[in-house]
């Protein structure tokens, strides 16, 4: 059976793409952010996962309001990145893993998740940037399975539902007849708000408590409604749902391998966590 080696979560601010393209990682503004990834790369070099299952939210590249899924799972042989309209560089396509995709899809529908299945799918910065942050050198070495959660249009799925999705994805991976090693990624957050008079809102105590809870008490955040999460974390901070799903996919208790938290990157409190199952 396949093995989940751990869960990685990170913010995905589009400006990161520009900073990478321009080689600004060591400039004072960016250094505290990029340096956070160094220990995780060492961990990845040691565990060498074959596949990454990525929980992320599309920002209006692949999905529009004519067909807006709550949960969408990719089942394509490859995923193309494309122009998002504001000129961050487009990355080469990412390898898919249709066999694992379909295994997950079959298990999720069996477990009464009403997913949308995508045999062709453009992936935006929320999918591509974490992969580039964790594997900065050359082509991405892992095959990928994208799992997209709607944060564009209300009603959003509750934290409880996203946690159940993550758990079901984790159980699907663990039941997959393969000796592959899988890493689960959650891309989004932490607290930020781009829109309205409240733009610039950041909630440091909430973010730190949330990061801590993923290790100590993973369902802590499910006590909040989506409305309360927006209040605490901002309209885009609700992307923390991706972290929650990724954490829930990792079975049992976890140990924190590494973490980072830095204010601000762009308008965002940028967080990062690497978790591994307690053996």
């Amino acid at each position: 059976m396949a093995r989940i080696v751990g869960g990685l979560t990170t913010s995905h601010v589009p400006a990161i793409g520009g900073a990478i393209a321009k080689g600004r990682q060591q400039e004072p503004y960016w250094k505290p952010f990029f340096d956070g990834f160094v220990p995780v790369r060492a961990w990845l070099a040691e565990h060498k996962p074959d596949i990454a299952v990525v929980f992320y939210n599309d920002h209006g590249l692949n999905f529009f309001l004519d067909k807006m899924p709550t949960f969408a799972v990719g089942a394509a042989p490859q995923y193309r990145n494309a122009d998002e309209g504001w000129g961050i560089p487009t990355l080469p396509p990412f390898r898919g893993h249709p066999q694992l995709s379909w295994h997950i899809i079959n298990r999720l529908v069996e477990r009464e998740f009403d997913i949308t299945t995508c045999q062709e799918m453009l992936v935006d910065h929320a999918f591509t940037l974490p992969l580039k942050l964790f594997w900065p050198e050359g082509a991405c070495p892992v095959a990928t399975v994208p799992v997209c959660i709607n944060t564009v249009q209300f009603p959003l799925p509750s934290a409880k539902r996203c946690m159940a999705l993550g758990r079901a994805v984790g159980e699907a991976i663990a039941s997959w007849d393969s000796d592959s090693k899988v890493v689960v990624i959650g891309s989004g957050g932490l607290s930020h708000q781009l829109d309205g008079e409240r733009a610039g809102f950041i909630n440091k105590p909430f973010d730190l408590k949330f990061m801590d809870s993923l290790v100590s008490e993973p369902d802590w955040v499910t006590r909040y409604s989506i409305h309360e999460l927006v209040e605490q974390a901002g309209t885009q901070g609700v992307e923390l749902l991706m972290w929650l799903a990724a954490r829930a996919a990792v079975p049992g208790p976890v140990r924190r391998v590494h973490g980072n938290y830095h204010i601000p990157i762009s308008n965002t409190a940028a967080g990062m966590l690497a978790l591994e199952p307690v053996a």
Binding site: F64, D83, P155, E197, Q232
Partner: protein
């Protein structure tokens, strides 16, 4: 009242069914800006492009004025509006400054100052959201 009967969050419009209905044409236009040709066509004739997408007169006026708060009120979704901002060469801090009525520098300074927040969580009824409102009112 929000669409699910909860108290509104000050300075925040949730993009729910009510907003999604108002903003469909506007958002569809902004979604089209993923394509470079469409961005060029829009730049060449903004009003003609907007009319083809069926924007309302209010939406057209708000696009002409680059009035982000008005666009949000008229059903614009921040994820799609960001593509319009991209055409104008504005980043999210420009947008933040415009929406809060601050200079870009002041907006950036305030972001950096967020780091001074306490690291400890105040419990279920965390006061951060309320504090933020007070700081805005001050």
């Amino acid at each position: 009242m929000g669409s699910n009967g909860t108290a509104p969050i000050p300075g925040t419009t949730l993009f729910d069914g009510v907003q999604a209905q108002k903003g469909y044409a506007l958002n569809k236009m902004c979604y089209s800006f993923n394509d470079a040709d469409n961005r060029a066509t829009f730049r060449f004739d903004e009003v003609g492009y907007m009319l083809r997408y069926g924007l309302s007169p209010e939406q057209i006026a708000a696009i002409r004025k680059r009035d982000v708060l008005a666009l949000l009120a008229l059903g614009g979704n921040v994820y799609y509006l960001a593509k319009f901002a991209g055409i104008l060469g504005l980043d999210v801090q420009d947008l933040g400054a415009a929406q809060t009525g601050m200079s870009k520098q002041a907006f950036q300074d305030r972001l950096v100052a967020q780091n001074l927040q306490p690291a400890s969580w105040g419990g279920h009824a965390d006061a951060r959201a309320a504090q933020w409102q007070e700081s805005l009112a001050a």
